[in-house]
Amino acid sequence: MTDAPHVPVARRLLANRMFLAACVLCTGLAVCVLAVLIVSIVLDGVHRLSPDFITNFASRKPDLAGIRAPLVGSIWVCAICALTALPVGVGTAIYLEEFAKRGRLTEFIRINISNLSGVPSIVYGIIGLTAFSRFFGWRSGAEPIEFGSPESLLYLRLPFGSSVLAGGLTLALVVLPIVIVASQEAIRAVPNSLRQGALALGSTRWQMVWRITLPASLPMVMTGAILAMSRAIGEAAPILVLGAPLLVLETPANLMSEFTVLPMQIFNWAGRAKASFQEIAAAAIIVQLTVLMSFNALAILVRQRLQAPLQ
């Protein structure tokens, strides 16, 4: 290593100082961007926030418009998404970490999941539209098949159309890879000695998972689940493809109701030229960010409260 170029110490120290300055500059830039983002949105929208804004339906007149339908719609969609994506996602993670033998199929499933997480959400929207809203073109043009009465909560219509159920299932596809990967990491973090203890006492694989691995990994699994759900309630592109109506004047009554979500409403308002619509878009963003922050806070709380030290 004798042919390394000789750089004077003074130059190296200068480079050192300049790089530190660049570091501070870049980090400062990132923090500034966040600050400008939040401050500008709050300045734009805070004076539009009021109880009426939360409880009113959308309107063509910005002064009367509110976010009741998208807010309730977001809750419905998020609940459907959680009820489907979490069991399937955690189940997949359990299978891959605790049951699957090393082999072609397992490896294929793993690669497949990592590829799914790179698929743009608008592509999931197209798949959701085709699979859930139209059942791949089954009975296209014909009247949908109905089960139950439209007044009941369990009313079902096949295919699902632009319903809140189709929306929730589509978002479940979007977040499924996130739930799987987070749960896998959580399960992997459980020390092997716990598993071996359970197996040594004669428990079956599933008994070990149900009584030992899953409880031990629950805080991390839940943290991942909450973060996945906060991704789900921020997604607009898939819902847009499904065809949420521009003006929704009622909250969902059952799984087949039409719906809109908060990010869609923000998109509709933000895209209009009139300044007053920009303001209510900013106000809706404040509500959306508040919900997301509380999700994040919840995740941190869960992580800290439930994380019993293992080993």
Binding site: A15, G118, P120, L292
Partner: protein, 319 residues
């Protein structure tokens, strides 16, 4: 992990459950979990099948209308599916728009994100690091439609103050907003990669008289390069697939240009235009959105696979 011991262990005497019923429920649970795992495979096949079949129809033609052809689609430089007059389906202007936005986003987010990651991992004291990381977490959780609003309400007016060349919709504003969106991805994944480099390498460099800069940039950075590259590719994948920002801020005119001040339409922006517009479900322009989505899917898949391959092949292993 060997579980041979468990499989042959004697049946539990404490419970009245017979061994065969236990085995049966065990098999049942296992097959239910396997079916969950296979759902993700089914999802992939659905994506490939739906996009493939619809795009195929678009290329080769349906019984009632002629196809566009794969080669004219991939090499055509004019995209005018909605305007009155002759419909033209050359995807390159959309690809060009996507690339322009992605390049702008990358030019902003990759250097800034990497240097911030180096600062967080190598320089920042633990307290500051925690504060900055939670700020990044907030940025990462912001829905993309919010960045779209930010582009329209803050970035574009700022650009217009600098130069008259910028219209209401322009590629630079959308690109910068996408850059802000992918910044936390670059930052946190690169930081993970940098922190995974063993401390002994840093100590060795310092002991040989390296400055903090020498250590960080000439020792730690090369050691973490595969992880950093993977984070770059992942961030660019997200930038290519980003929809709401470009739908709000980039404009709706598909054109072959690398001028950041002009409006562009991206692939995702076109899909949004089709599904929010009033295109008939059996029209050619509607079918073209599936072909565009298939192109988008192939591009993002290639980037994801490249990222996985880089991580696998170039990972530096340290004891």
């Amino acid at each position: 992990m060997s579980h041979a011991a468990a499989a042959t262990s004697s049946a539990s005497r404490g419970t009245p459950i017979t061994r065969s019923s236990r085995d049966r429920s065990e098999r049942l649970v296992k097959s239910v979990l396997l079916s969950f795992a296979l759902l993700s495979v089914v999802t992939t096949f659905s994506i490939v099948a739906v996009l493939g079949i619809e795009a195929w129809g678009f290329f080769t033609g349906f019984p009632d209308k002629p196809g566009i052809g794969l080669v004219p689609f991939l090499t055509g430089t004019e995209w005018s599916p909605l305007l009155g007059g002759e419909q033209k389906f050359g995807v390159l202007p959309l690809v060009c728009g996507t690339l322009l936005v992605t390049v702008i986003a990358g030019a902003f987010a990759l250097p800034v994100g990497l240097v911030t990651a180096i600062f967080l991992s190598e320089y920042a004291p633990p307290r500051l690091r925690m504060v900055l990381k939670s700020a990044l977490e907030v940025l990462a959780g912001v829905p993309t439609v919010v960045y779209g609003f930010f582009a329209l309400a803050v970035i574009t007016p700022a650009l217009q103050r600098v130069s008259d060349a910028f219209g209401t919709y322009n590629a630079l504003s959308a690109g910068l907003a996408v850059g802000i969106m992918i910044l936390p991805i670059v930052c946190s994944l690169s930081e993970d990669a940098l922190r995974a480099v063993p401390q002994s390498l840093r100590d060795g460099s310092s002991a040989l008289g390296g400055t903090k800069f020498d250590t960080s940039v000439k020792v730690v950075l090369p050691a973490a390069l595969s992880g950093i590259m993977a984070s770059f590719l992942l961030a660019l994948t997200r930038a290519i697939g980003e929809t709401m920002i470009v739908a709000l801020a980039a404009g709706g005119l598909a054109q072959m240009t690398m001028n950041p001040a002009s409006q562009v339409q991206t692939m995702t922006g076109f899909i949004v235009a089709i599904f929010t517009g009033d295109a008939q479900a059996n029209s050619v322009e509607y079918a073209s959105s599936y072909a565009v989505a298939a192109t988008l899917f192939v591009m993002t898949l290639a980037l994801t696979l490249a990222g996985t391959a880089i991580l696998k092949r170039f990972r530096e292993e340290y004891e």
